[in-house]
């Protein structure tokens, strides 16, 4: 195991993370950026196969050229309680120490080789872990062919061929139209876009765009590209049907409801997601206070930060979607504040605050316009699988008191995804707050954990009442008798 030290560690190389890295560099800090993808840019600026790193990514990488970038690195553990210097552990899919960004700007990524664990030691950490899509269960949502909206987009950018595929896009949020346009460019036949929010609310957002000329121009260009695609509002998927016995097998058609009218559309792919939710797992692991506004739905969860993006943990800052969904412009604004602040340059950080405040107001308008309708809570049937890893159904889950009890009784959320999908869905459907995650944040192979070449160990002990430390958990895992594992 090797160790990487830096003054400022940025986790996530999307817009917020790269803006933070650039700002921290410009304030004179020594910066290390880690990101789990093969190339920088995050989800929104995902490097498109063949086209390489996006110009927006490249521009920020240029400004952060003194920083180091470690791609293919997933942070899975931290020394707790979190204190300076912060010690995080990442599983790295690529060999060797981080290289300077300047050497990487050309391709934005590097060869991957044998995995290893790298310990990341930094005085200050900027958590810029982005967002995930909100997937709500409905009958048939587990059929192959039903993907997320950003999910299908990411697959296409990863090289999936959708030429001549019939695609239905459903769910909620501005992403639906953006992905519709991008799928058409990739050769797909988009049969329709079905937004659950009412048309009036969405038009209302359009009006607030008048104060954001750049966004207005983007929206106009998008609508022009989609002129021939049918767009429905107050519409949502009731169920997806497969080609196998009893509706199983592979996706064949989707039934959508618009007002009192239901219609069936034969399709090859259904892209469906209900907006974005903040990715707060790392911040929660570090002990940062998370606001769980469950009455306003899963999307209202956020990492609590002050005006300079500082969380409740000393030396841990947070920027972008984890502090509340706000889109790329807000992420850039918050990243700049966080980067300067993490470098100790509070004057420049304060100067960057007004921009982030303006973007926050626009984000709040978006959130209101795309608020989730209550009918979506009634979509899952008792036999609808909610936990996709363990195949636990809605009927088996919904009667329990909370997420913890449901997990103990049904294994819901105990599979490889650790509740990233079902936990967030249950947060939205039943108002069950997400549990504080425990390390490792992703499944890590024992051979990597058992790497004994380490000279530094992740520090003991844990926050009070937060469960086992990582070291204890590992000891427990190792000591657990074989028979303890679920028999399959």
């Amino acid at each position: 195991m090797c160790e990487e030290r830096a003054e400022v560690l940025v986790v996530g190389a999307g817009p917020a993370g790269l803006a933070a890295a650039a700002a921290a560099c410009e304030s004179g800090a020594e910066v290390l950026v880690v990101d789990e993808n093969a190339a920088a840019g995050g989800q929104i600026w995902r490097a498109h196969r063949g086209a390489g790193v996006r110009p927006e990514t490249r521009a920020l990488l240029e400004r952060a050229r003194r920083a180091r970038l470690l791609s293919g690195a997933v942070v899975f553990d931290a020394a707790l309680p979190a204190a300076r210097p912060h010690r995080l552990r990442a599983l790295v899919a690529e060999g060797g120490p981080a290289e300077r960004i300047a050497e990487r700007v050309a391709e934005g990524s590097a060869e991957q080789s044998a995995e290893q664990i790298v310990e990341l030691v930094a005085e200050r950490v900027v958590v810029a872990t982005g967002a995930t899509e909100l997937f709500l269960p409905f009958p048939g949502w587990t059929l192959p062919g039903v993907l997320g909206v950003g999910g299908l987009q990411a697959m296409v950018e990863g090289g999936m061929d959708v030429r001549d595929r019939r695609v239905v896009i459903a769910g909620s949020g501005p992403l639906l139209l953006a992905v519709a346009a991008s799928l058409r460019s990739a050769g797909a036949r988009v049969l329709g876009v079905f937004e659950q929010a009412p048309r009036g609310a969405v038009v209302g957002v359009g009006l607030t765009l008048a104060r954001h000329p750049r966004k207005l121009a983007q929206a106009g260009a998008l609508l022009a590209r989609l002129a021939s695609v049918s767009r429905s509002y107050s519409s949502w998927p009731l169920r997806a049907e497969g080609d196998g016995a009893g509706g199983g097998g592979f996706l064949r058609r989707v039934i959508l409801r618009t007002g009192a009218r239901d219609r069936a559309l034969d399709c090859d792919l259904l892209a469906c997601a209900f907006g974005l939710v903040p990715a707060t797992r790392l911040a929660a692991l570090l002990g940062c206070t998370i606001e769980h506004a469950v009455d306003r739905g899963a999307r209202a969860r956020r990492v609590v930060v002050d005006e300079l993006q500082r969380t409740t943990i000393d030396g841990v800052l947070c920027a972008g979607e984890p502090t509340g969904i706000g889109g790329v412009d807000l992420a850039l604004a918050e990243g700049a504040v966080a980067g300067h602040a993490a470098a100790g340059d509070l004057d420049r950080a304060r100067a960057a605050v007004p921009r982030s405040r303006r973007e926050r107001r626009f984000a709040a308008a978006l959130e209101r316009a795309f608020a989730l309708r209550s009918e979506l809570r009634d979509l899952p049937a008792d036999d609808t699988v909610v936990c996709r890893c363990e195949d636990v159904t809605w009927g088996a889950i919904r009667t329990w008191r909370d997420g913890r009890q449901a997990k103990l009784e049904t294994r819901c959320g105990m599979g490889p995804c650790q509740g990233r999908v079902c936990g967030v869905a249950l947060e939205a459907l039943l108002g069950w707050p997400l549990e504080t995650p425990r390390p490792p944040l992703i499944p890590v192979p024992f051979h990597a954990l058992a790497d004994t070449t380490s000279e530094t160990r992740i520090g003991p002990p844990c926050r009070p009442n937060s469960g086992a430390t990582s070291a204890e958990a590992r000891g427990w895992l190792e000591a657990r008798p074989e028979g303890h594992f679920k028999a399959r």
Binding site: E36, N37, A38, Q43, R49, G50, A93, Q112, T132, E133, F135, T142, P144, G145, V146, L147, G148, G150, G151, L152, Q153, A154, M155, G158, G159, M160, D161, D243, G248, G249, F250, L251, R252, D268, V385, R388, C389, E390, D391, G415, P416, C417, R420, V421, P443, P445, R488
Partner: protein, 106 residues
């Protein structure tokens, strides 16, 4: 830039454009379907679509249902497969490399 890499997917050797993910390579696999001559075009198209849909499944769930990618970004683990002997690798986060051996369906 039209480089390619060659890898095996469930024992079958395929050549794909460099830079695509293993998940994309799996769902892009050429379809093998029985050739039935003399049927009308509509039926032929239906047969093609039926065979085609199966490509989207990458793993089998604990109760035996086929599953395909959902999130495309490493969250859901639905696209996991065995790569070069390592189990439960998220194929959407892994780029194809020369000589890689991918086993899906488990």
């Amino acid at each position: 830039m039209h480089e390619t890499v060659t890898l095996t997917l469930d024992g079958e050797t395929v050549t794909v454009p460099a830079g695509i993910t293993v998940a994309a390579a799996l769902v892009n696999r050429p379809v093998h379907r029985p050739v039935i001559r003399g049927v009308d075009r509509t039926l032929e198209r239906t047969l093609e679509r039926n065979a085609d849909r199966a490509r989207l499944a990458i793993r089998t769930s604990v109760t035996g249902a086929p599953r395909g990618p959902l999130c495309g970004m490493g969250i859901c683990f639905e696209c996991r497969a065995t790569i070069d002997g390592r189990v439960h690798v998220r194929t959407c986060m892994t780029l194809c490399r020369d000589g890689m051996e991918v086993v899906s369906g488990v």
